[in-house]
Amino acid sequence: MVRVTDEVRRLRRRFQERGEESQIWDAVLLARHTSRPYTLDYVGGLFSDFYELHGDRAFADDPAIVAGIGTYHGRPVVCVGNQKGRDTVEERIRRNFGMARPEGYRKAIRAFELADRLGFPVLTFVDTPGAYPGVGAEERGQAGMIASSILAMARLEVPVIATVIGEGGSGGALALAVGDRVLMQENAIYSVISPEGCASILWKDAAQARKAAYAFRPTAASCLDLGVIDAVVAEPSGGAHKDHERAIRLVDVAISAALDEVLALAPRDRRLARRAKFRRMGVWGTAEPDTTASGLAAER
């Protein structure tokens, strides 16, 4: 019925070879490991100086997103990332488990626009289960702010390097991940919905999360196959939480290389190239001429 290319067939085969259910679930657990380095750990390790900005200038400061100006290998950059809380319950709650509200995205947009004005590259770190699904967040325009953050990133003429360092959950993650280069750590995950959310909708049972993860494979290797990310960043053996310093050094090497590539482009070319890159994303076929809906109906 649908004419698909050899490329699609190759992708389907790759997915079937992409590890066992247990291996894929291990990546989900590692991506969520509470000792994994978070955005502020990378900020501390990568920048010789960093000044954090606070507040969206409209309503509040959202601690689930950090934004600021830093010095990266002697160069001024703007950094924005999702931030989960660590150690205490209070801190985890204060950071809202990394789930941003509209104010967080508005702060991010403010930082992106500053970077563009001053010509500073943007580095983002993506690590969130998703945008916060609260009544207030919805009333204050969660959907519109996610769309606006994606648009703000799309319009930047400065280099944008996004790195998925843990959970890349849904639109709340994509809102910080529209990069010229998108990097993803070996054990990070990136998906349209959490495995639990997918399971509760398609299997009608959140407990089927392992099955859902296996079916949609949110792993770095799969994202690379599908052309969604540009490179997989290796982690210390056993996962990034085993050796923060080494994990940060590996991310540093990958970001530096990506940044050098993108710095070589002219500013306006960067924006158009970014648009062309995302335009290519997606896989589809075409209808066989004789099997349109009416033809299919006749067949049965």
């Binding site: 019925m1 649908v2 004419r3 698909v4 290319t5 699609v8 992708l11 389907r12 997915f15 079937q16 945008a131 699904p133 609260g134 009544v135 919805e138 009333e139 325009g141 969660q142 959907a143 519109g144 996610i146 769309a147 994606i150 648009l151 799309a154 849904s170 639109g171 994509l174 529209v178 990136y190 998906s191 349209v192 919905i193 997918c198 909708i201 398609l202 299997w203 079916a215 949609f216 949110p218 799969s222 994202c223 599908l226 969604v228 648009r275 995302f278 335009r279 994303m281 997606g282 896989v283 589809w284 076929g285 075409t286 209808a287 349109t292 809906a293 009416s294 299919l296 109906a297 049965r300």
Partner: protein, 312 residues
Amino acid sequence: MAEISVNIQRDGDDPRPTTARKDPNTCPTCRSHYRADELVALLRVCRQCGHHFVVGARERIAQLCDPGSFVEHAADLRSADPLAFIDLKAYADRLTDAELATGLGDAITVGVGTIGGSPTALAVMDFGFLGGSMGSVVGEKLAVASDLAVARGVPLIAVAASGGARMQENILALMQMAKTVMAIDQLRDARLPFISVCTHPTTGGVIASFAALGDVTLAEPDALMSFAGPRVVQDTTKERLPDDFGRSHANLRLGHVDAVVPRSELAATLARLLRLFAGSIPEPVVPAPPRAAPPSLGQRLASLFRRGASRG
């Protein structure tokens, strides 16, 4: 264009009564029953209570466009299932069933046409096709609609009806949010306006991407327009949800849409906006009544004074 009957299949997170699942011609709010042709003639709005039924893409295009003016583009694109995705049912089977039920290749139909004589590019979603979910084909076709607008120098109108991103395409579906936002950005570069029409439901990845970026955003009465569905919000936060959570009139009150437009007025409203954007003077739809002589300054001051005095 051939009329088709659309089987309404609700895959989404719809908290409303589900009578419509059993009989698409019975009003879920007041239980009035309609013949199929009667409902089409009523634009699928309940005569008794004003409930707006879901409208399929082809029927919506027939409601909005001048007869015979719509030319479809990219009709041959089909989802390709690169993940070979299977949940309780194979995605490939879901796609075949949806195509048979709706007669559509995917959850969006795009093309060019005229509304009230003004040319426009049009992208219309169909909730009957896998809950209007956005996967690779929906994203590409929305981008094609933007290309059509730019090539012809006309505005783009998108009519959204979607539960959000298509989970069966996972990360590729998520990327369509960026792709469609960039399609709107392309219109902005070309200085062309984008009109977003949100119908029930417009949620998840669709309301958080192109549908949120209208230069003018219209919504149908009682359409659900939220990023997270009411059930997800309820389960996550244990908060008590307002009765009108995410509904279009709440979105109007909160400043997220420009107007809530009943379906009977949608085509005329779009025609008027297209004329305004084209810079021409809109022709009055109804002849204006003869105007009374404007009140004199003295009369106006007197009425102000009276109002002031009555407030004490």
